[in-house]
């Protein structure tokens, strides 16, 4: 098949001995360098494990310290002066209600803002300004949001130290998260789909609503879940609002059996949330309360890990399933 004359080999100009000697030195040096490779992998693995191990140790520590409180009473009791009978009832109800308000504040506004920036905004200084603000806000420490809430919501607007204030504050806090994930999900949609929709005569809003939103809602949901997990664990802004830390009551129920059946009194009620309750118990010198704090911490970690884990899993599934 080949038309070549294979000739007999002749040695090259350098003698075999000198080439081989060089090879020997080269091989020794390579061995040394590869040792560095190996050592570094060990160190690298160690570095990675540090974060991972810490998380595990942390979780284990909380569980071990707090396990005696893992019973139904803990969830259905109010805080009390006696550590043994103190419970999380007001805290987790408060957390749920605050997160509800946060969701209502952050999601519609965040998705709308993301839609505007991706689909409508012309490329000019105006939209640049908005983008810069979003990026900046993501880097503002959470306690500054608390100061904003204290100065503006609590006093100037008179909303008081209430669930409404807390929800507004956290909503603003996670707004950048929702905006960014909305934008990224929308960007992942190819222009071809939009063009197809326009080609049959749809208006811009119809394209956005029926197509863009529909295909990107998975990614948006991922961002929302991550944002809500963040809101669940945030302590600093809520403390700054002045969340009362010994709350032995529940906010008024949103539903009642007299007309008009739904009321909003609960929005202006005092409240506490899970991380604050943990902080409060942690700050007491009495070791018995530390056990409560540990149990609360374990629950908080579990919840945030579950939520974040769900979001990551969701994103993974979306990426796998996209067949443009």
């Amino acid at each position: 098949m080949m038309s070549t004359n294979m000739t007999t080999k002749k040695p090259t100009s350098s003698t075999p001995a000198s080439v081989l000697k060089n090879l020997g030195e080269v091989r020794a040096m390579i061995k040394r360098h590869k040792l560095n490779d190996y050592l570094f992998s060990l160190i690298g693995l160690l570095a990675l494990s540090l974060a991972l191990l810490t998380l595990m140790t942390l979780f284990m520590d909380l569980v071990i310290d707090g396990y005696q409180r893992f019973n139904l009473d803990f969830f259905s009791n109010f805080p009390s002066r006696r550590a043994g009978s103190a419970g999380l009832l007001s805290a987790w109800v408060g957390s749920a209600l605050v997160m509800l308000v946060t969701f209502i504040v952050a999601v519609p506004m965040g998705v709308a803002a993301g839609l505007y920036l991706e689909e409508y905004a012309p490329k000019n200084w105006f939209s640049d300004l908005i983008e810069i603000n979003v990026t900046n806000l993501a880097g503002v420490p959470s306690i500054v949001y608390g100061l904003l809430a204290l100065g503006l919501f609590v006093y100037i607007l008179g909303l008081g130290q209430s669930i409404l204030t807390a929800g507004l504050t956290l909503g603003l806090l996670i707004l950048p998260i929702v905006i960014v994930s909305t934008r990224e999900s929308i960007r992942a949609i190819p222009t071809a789909i939009r063009e197809a929709a326009y080609a049959v005569g749809a208006t811009k809003w119809q394209v956005v609503y029926d197509h863009v939103l529909k295909y990107s809602y998975g990614g948006i949901l991922t961002g929302v879940i991550i944002g809500m997990a963040r809101a669940l664990g945030e302590t600093a802004p809520i403390i700054t609002i002045g969340a009362l830390t010994f709350i032995a009551f529940l906010p008024p129920s949103p539903v009642s059996d007299v007309a008009p059946f739904i009321n909003f009194e609960w929005l202006s009620s005092g409240f506490t949330v899970l991380p604050i309750q943990m902080f409060n118990w942690l700050s007491r010198p009495d070791h018995a309360f530390h056990i409560n704090a540990a149990a609360t911490g374990a629950i908080i970690i579990l919840l945030t890990l579950l939520m974040n884990g769900t979001a990551i899993y969701l994103r993974y599934k979306i990426r796998k399933n996209i067949k443009w």
Partner: protein
């Protein structure tokens, strides 16, 4: 035709076709929707303005009582005492010390982890580790506060018997561990962006993985790596719960991590938890402190942005 009938029965047919009328209505609807969406987007600007507005408003009242010079030069911060002092430096030193400890841990560990993940780890390992790093980022900081106070401090006290129960070392270390996933994640992304052709060029010269990673990939990704560091610094400076729980409440000027001290953030928390009459100097002081904090983090963010723009490699 007389004028009367002209006015009663116009000769020009002004009715538009139903289809065109529908278009006009749709058009108006579209514009309204766009306007609403724009308002939503402006919320970001509104938030920034509100934050700056509130902080400035209260700080200006504060500075009517306290001179700016005193604010930056007084060595004591005791706004709630009879003999009140309003020097921000103790709080700043607390913030800087805890952050320095945190970054001394987080920057090396985070960078090494990033290099390992990007250049050494197998594809499978990366697929598993990256989500875990993301999970770590989501752990609430109050939990880390617990860890610092009740787990790490006792251990450190066995090593350093003079260590107070509240100290900046423990808080700083835990803060560092907390920041490692941030730095590792962002730095790793920056390194992955370096094109394979550059690595091939290095390997073709007979370099090992370690040599390629350190001599070629890291310098190529340096702008992203530095951005990661700046992100970490910002995070450390703004952190509240870990230091509020574990570092202490005493504002003192000290750069010794073995002492107990308050950071800007811890102070704000401490005051907010107490009873402060609205409009009092103590109330205003937290806004002044918050303003300093905001300016610090903003400076770092801008610095990071500029560095990234200047050194961004265009592949």
């Amino acid at each position: 035709m007389n004028t009367a009938s002209t006015m009663l029965t116009p000769s020009i047919d002004l009715t538009i076709s139903p289809r065109l009328a529908k278009n006009v209505r749709r058009n108006i609807k579209e514009r309204i929707i766009e306007f609403i969406l724009m308002l939503a987007a402006l919320s970001a600007v509104a938030t920034t303005l509100s934050i700056v507005g509130v902080l400035l408003y209260e700080s200006l009242s504060f500075f009517k009582t306290v001179s700016v010079v005193d604010f930056f030069t007084d060595t004591q911060w005791t706004p709630l005492f009879e003999d009140a002092h309003y020097g921000i430096m103790p709080l700043v030193s607390g913030t800087l010390t805890t952050s320095a400890v945190a970054l001394a841990l987080a920057i090396p560990v985070g960078t090494i982890a990033a290099i390992y993940l990007s250049e050494f780890a197998s594809h499978k390992t990366r697929e598993i580790v990256k989500p875990i790093l993301e999970l770590l980022v989501g752990v609430p900081t109050i939990v880390f506060g617990y860890f610092a106070l009740l787990f790490l401090t006792p251990i450190l006290q066995k090593m350093f018997p003079d260590l107070p129960g509240f100290n900046m070392l423990s808080a700083g270390i835990v803060m560092g561990i907390m920041i490692v996933p941030y730095i590792a994640s962002v730095a790793e992304d920056a390194m992955r962006a370096v094109p394979m052709s550059m690595r091939e060029g290095s390997y073709a010269m007979g370099a090992t993985r370690f040599q390629t990673a350190v001599r070629v990939v890291t310098p190529a990704a340096i702008s992203g790596i530095v951005a990661a560091y700046i992100l970490g610094i910002s995070r450390a400076v703004g952190e509240t719960m870990v230091v509020a729980v574990a570092a202490g409440q005493q504002p003192i000027i000290s750069f010794n991590p073995m002492e107990s001290a308050a950071t800007i953030t811890a102070f704000i928390v401490q005051v907010a938890m107490g009873d402060l009459p609205h409009g009092s100097i103590g109330y205003q002081s937290i806004f002044a402190a918050g303003l300093v904090l905001l300016v610090m983090t903003l400076c770092f963010n801008i610095l990071g942005h500029m560095i990234r723009k200047k050194y961004r490699e265009h592949y």
